[in-house]
Symmetry: C2
């Protein structure tokens, strides 16, 4: 089955909202193995919507519409799709009553009664979070699914009513596995896996984002097991070539992975942050339950604070500077000692845009990890603006912690 999405709404075309519905629907259809080749956004305009509908059904069997089911005159999706399917609208008493009930004590605006107009022969999708019912229309192998625009209405309607409808018509199952890689670039990955990326089942697609590369392996088969057994050999082949960079799978990003290790092994940690100024601790702090292993951290921008809280030697700061391997090492030792934790991790660097010199340019960052009294310091040369350098420093520090834990 081939599908398309048409999002209807001038608010998307003028940039007032992001079309997150398209992502949600795409992911769900992908999980069913339904192909999608195009998505369209069109405004609240009858002629242009009519054209978009006709074109979509020339290319696809299934068209999913979001938006344009509201009570105002602008909202034309139902009328326009019904016209394409030559299905006249009728007033559905039961739905009219539902809408009135929705308003409870408040007076139901007259305009909302438009939402009880249903195309003849349509399947109605109940809306438990708003007044606009969804609609499924079918004719000569073409299926139109009409959904309300607000995600809090669309998502439950899709999950609870549209997915079962579509599953019953799908010929196969699609499974996927996402590998998360750190410390290697997208093009290097592309070169090392070009043979695997040329395959069509499973497909292998790399995607670079936020300082890491993800690789999605996706397979289509008649059963879940058959799909998984297509994925596994490709997964193994990638592990053989790029295993050292793979740190996690699917939704397990770097903060989750490292926090998971710390929590699982009950390893306590504290951070001493200079240029990242709380971002490392704040990132770990986003993981529920982290306070079992993270009790305190200190931000020490100034030399004075590094001396006062972490016991960094003034002589080291004088001789090597605040941004140095030596200072990073002493910071890591100092925070582990004062916080009495298994791991002390430190970050000191130059995030810019000012403060760089020829010898110590913007982007120079040292990460120190003290674990069981053994200190390792990593020198990083990071690129980008202040924000990017700080984020990359945090992820590198987390990866450094991860490697130290796994090396035990």
């Amino acid at each position: 089955m081939k599908a398309e999405i048409i999002a209807v709404g001038t608010e998307i075309l003028v940039g007032d909202i992001v079309n997150t519905n398209a992502q949600f629907i795409s992911r769900e259809l992908f999980s069913l193995g339904i192909d999608m080749y195009y998505q369209t956004v069109v405004g609240d305009n009858k002629k242009r919507l009519t054209d978009a509908i006709a074109q979509a059904f020339e290319r696809a069997d299934l068209v999913i519409f979001s938006g344009g089911l509201g009570p105002t005159e602008d909202d034309l999706t139902k009328e326009t799709v019904a016209a394409y399917f030559e299905a006249p609208l009728y007033y559905d008493e039961a739905i009219g009553e539902d809408i009135k009930t929705y308003f409870k004590n408040r007076k139901c605006p007259e305009s909302n009664m438009k939402q009880a107009q249903i195309p003849q022969g349509a399947m109605v999708l109940a809306n438990n979070h708003g007044t606009a019912p969804g609609v499924i229309l079918q004719k000569e192998g073409k299926i139109a699914v009409l959904l309300p625009g607000p995600p809090r209405e669309l998502i439950p309607m899709f999950t609870q009513q549209v997915m079962p409808f579509l599953k019953s018509r799908s010929d196969y199952v699609m499974e996927s596995l996402t590998l998360r890689l750190f410390g290697v670039g997208e093009s290097a990955v592309g070169e090392m896996l070009s043979d695997l990326m040329a395959g069509s089942n499973p497909t292998v697609a790399p995607y670079a984002k936020d300082h890491e590369v993800t690789l999605r392996i996706a397979a289509k088969a008649e059963t879940k097991d058959a799909a998984l057994s297509l994925i596994e050999p490709v997964h193994q082949a990638i592990k053989d070539r790029l295993g050292e960079y793979i740190y996690g799978y699917d939704e397990e990003d770097m903060p989750k992975t490292v926090a998971g290790l710390l929590l699982e092994k009950k390893i306590t940690i504290a951070c001493a942050e200079s240029c990242t100024a709380g971002l490392l601790t704040g990132t770990l702090g986003n993981i529920p339950g982290i306070s079992a292993v993270l009790n305190e951290s200190i931000v020490t921008y100034s030399n004075e604070a590094k001396i006062k809280y972490l016991g960094v030697s003034p002589e080291t700061l004088e001789r090597c500077g605040a941004v140095s391997s030596e200072t990073a090492g002493e910071m890591a030792v100092g925070i582990a000692k004062t916080a009495k934790t298994d791991i002390g991790v430190s970050i000191t660097g130059i995030a810019g845009p000012d403060g760089g010199t020829e010898e110590k340019p913007v982007g120079l960052v040292y990460v120190g990890v003290c674990y069981h009294d053994q200190v390792t310091v990593q020198k990083l040369t990071l690129k980008g603006n202040r924000q990017k350098i700080r984020q990359a420093a945090v992820l590198n520090a987390l990866n450094h912690v991860r490697k130290r834990i796994l090396a035990e």
Copy 2:
């Protein structure tokens, strides 16, 4: 001028990423008064991309492409648009050198050299955040703008290079002013400004995001001055009604606004964070030059750390609990004292998902500000998941600091 957007990338069609670029570009084009009737997403497929290009140029004069400029074989936007414009590609030595420079000490993958292929006659847009240059192609009144997919590359390229190019071809001037409001909801704003929002020139559009509401006033006129003089009376009318909530304009978000105040007035600050665990300090730390007023901060999750570093009284913790007005106040005093700063700000609360009780539910957060030895504590009842609660706590703490400074 009529415009369309074509986003190229299978990762959008399978739902791996949200097409936020479309929103960004739409908003920018709208600000120039350029009409947009359609947006399309198409996969990394030559035939379908070719069809989409032809169709878009049948309907529009300006087509903006995002994505598909990467180094892999999948990336076909440049080749395909160049073919449509009948512009052969050539290898641009200077761009090739730029790309090699980007990799510095690392080896530049051979595949990245594909990105130095430029269509004949094209205008090249420098990429200061990645290796893929952008391209503008023009022929017989048709304009194609090709931009890299990652937002961190696309946004600066669009703002710095595409906007001036488009502005120079627009028939009129569109000016806008964005007001930033904190502490008031979108629907309340909508109700209070419904008369102004009904206007067509200037338009007034509210937009809710990240715990704040922005209001964009946009006017179209023949000159910049004429557009600005349409905006000003509406701006004044909004100030009269909602002035207490307006904290900034345009790109001056809450962290920038507060950091700007601190830096301008040379007010030093230190933070004591419990549930936000570094996020407040890390947010301030993202502002260049902040180390002039922010030297240190302490994350104190545990009671022990609150006592050790901040001198919070064990009796207070015992009697009122760690999440209480009293503890927040003592934390704020304690951090100002130990860090010897003008302002000490504290956050303590329950970010969830666990740890809530009937008396102290998830989302209960106290923010304390000690300024010139005077302490004020604000009680917040925040909604959402852990991440949202922590972010909202940080913004409320910053707003609290802002109000205290302005009240002096």
